[in-house]
Symmetry: C2
Subunit: 331 residues, 2 copies
């Protein structure tokens, strides 16, 4: 079993301070193109697989039955930061299908977005489940659940929706899931190998409007995310800023515990990264390095420099350090 | 050069999700007692060395000259979370020495404490430098600077205060510093080996009221921190909760990028941990494991379980995973 590959280094005062190592795989239509670390490593994709979890929403016809737009589909694949637009869109979506916030099963947490966070604090309001970064996914879950005429506890692993997601996961990764964990938003998260996750992303990259139901759904979700980068995460966040920097040509998604995936339709490639220590900054730097190397991201773009290569400053604006790729990565 | 030792594992759904590896050294009066990973690894102690940075404050007589209490000394060694009491105490301290907030050179950041953070937001106030987690250290810096009749730019590496701190660092670690970086609070942070840092902590542990100037200063700072755990960090934080759990018998300090040190006066031991990926949760779990193994912390205490061994829950209170020590650590 190969060791995790050193991928990202943090330097301060001319000395190496911290290091991130992990696994990464790039797949094309015919399989693995390149791998770092252990391509067989079993991981939890966490939120990086939201486009897989959204497949039943499109494939069952549930999305079209209630006239969801591509913006809705982007929100269904999002880890949004609870900006007002995200919260309003999720609320309106639930209203459209005759439901409201209590139907959600994602739990509430303070929004990452400072404007909305401060608004809540100033008005003595508590965050609700609509603020949860996964609320769009859960709106999608409820839409399929209603379409399936299934019960309200849609995050239970034996619920018809979760069974459909497990099946879709196994089909697109080409693997039997290795187990499941309960995610921060209470939904089951199915464990697969990093190669399986990259293989799934390659399927998304190779999907087309003229293909079968699966291929059309994959194509639509990939385009929806790339078209609405601001709905997939939010201002200042890696997915949003990097997708914008690549002009919508690449679809990105982060996941908790340092997972990052990329779908490159023009190159027909899928990428998956897992930093083994779970440090998000490591995953953001590593996927930035892979995208630069693939020729789809300008290393000097501010969105790239913010994650890799640029200098880090402190509260007084003094330069303190920088983030670099580890020697030999990505090669 | 030995590899970092796997120390901490995060499990979810019965599967290993993330891992933290690092270096750790335990020293006694006669040197290294036990080591994990690479005992020669050069690290930035970051805020874990604040009791070293406070040595000139006590040793020059500056602290006594302005009648600082042990509570002030605890705040000088703190990475506090900007609770109202921390901010007020720092403001009063500056006032005592005839200075005010603009004399600080630490920069401002939003306090980690939610009560104070929300108060600022509700009153449309901006955080000031007193909210910076290092403001107590900087009050100490200004007190020595004034005592030395040195210039106001006390964070410059050639300032008499920083030269004194460098000398103290070299004396207590038994090493020539390997270089320096600029810390988040703009002060120089001198790089030493993890063994040097543990050796320094052992000196603190072996210090006594009846010793020489250095020994008395070390003893006083160690006791001050253990006596006022709430000033060293704040409610809910690892240093505060774990020091309380050990009834003031052990002095603890965290540092950015996953450094943690412990001073055990009864056992006459010093400990230092660095998780190589910089993940704070890893350092908190690893020092918890070492303290439990040393017999000074009850593994079942809620403060210990919160960092190691206890279950993790999500926004709806569902159990999602747990944090464990890696096989063989700490042995």
């Amino acid at each position: 079993m190969p060791n995790p590959e050193p991928m990202v280094e943090l330097w301060r005062g001319g000395l190496l301070e911290s290091t991130h190592a992990g696994h990464a795989v790039i797949c094309g239509a015919k399989g693995v193109v390149q791998a770092w670390g252990d391509p067989g490593a079993v991981i939890f994709p966490r939120s990086s697989c939201k486009m897989i979890q959204a497949l039943p929403l499109v494939e069952t016809g549930a999305a079209d039955a209630v006239c969801l737009t591509d913006a809705h589909l982007a929100l269904a694949c999002a880890s949004h930061q609870g900006e007002r637009r995200h919260v309003t869109m999720a609320a309106d979506w639930l209203s459209t299908i005759g439901l409201a916030e209590p139907a959600l099963r994602c739990g509430a947490h303070e929004p990452y977005d400072r404007v909305e966070r401060n608004r809540l604090i100033k008005t003595d309001s508590s965050p609700c489940q609509l603020h949860n970064n996964c609320s769009g996914k859960h709106c999608g879950f409820l839409t399929v659940t209603q379409h399936m005429k299934a019960g309200p506890e849609y995050v239970e692993v034996d619920h018809p929706l979760q069974r459909a997601i497990r099946q879709a996961t196994e089909e697109v990764t080409g693997e039997t899931v290795a187990g499941y964990g309960i995610d921060g938003c209470s939904a089951p998260n199915f464990a697969v190998s990093i190669t399986g996750l990259a293989r799934a992303m390659a399927l998304f990259a190779n999907a087309s409007e003229g293909g079968d139901t699966r291929s059309r759904a994959m194509h639509r979700l990939t385009r929806a995310m790339a078209t609405y980068p601001e709905l997939v995460a939010g201002e200042g966040r890696a997915c949003t800023e990097l997708m914008r920097a690549m002009g919508g040509k690449v679809t990105l998604k982060t996941g908790a515990e340092a997972v990052f995936v990329a779908i490159l339709p023009e190159q027909k490639l899928g990428m998956a990264v897992k930093i083994t220590d779970g440090g998000t900054r490591g995953a953001e730097a590593a996927i930035t390095a892979l995208l630069v190397r693939a020729g789809v991201l300008d290393a000097n773009h501010p969105a790239a420099q913010k994650r890799l290569g640029g200098t880090q400053t402190n509260w007084r604006g003094l330069q303190t350090g920088e983030t670099r790729t580890a020697p030999g990565f990505p090669g």
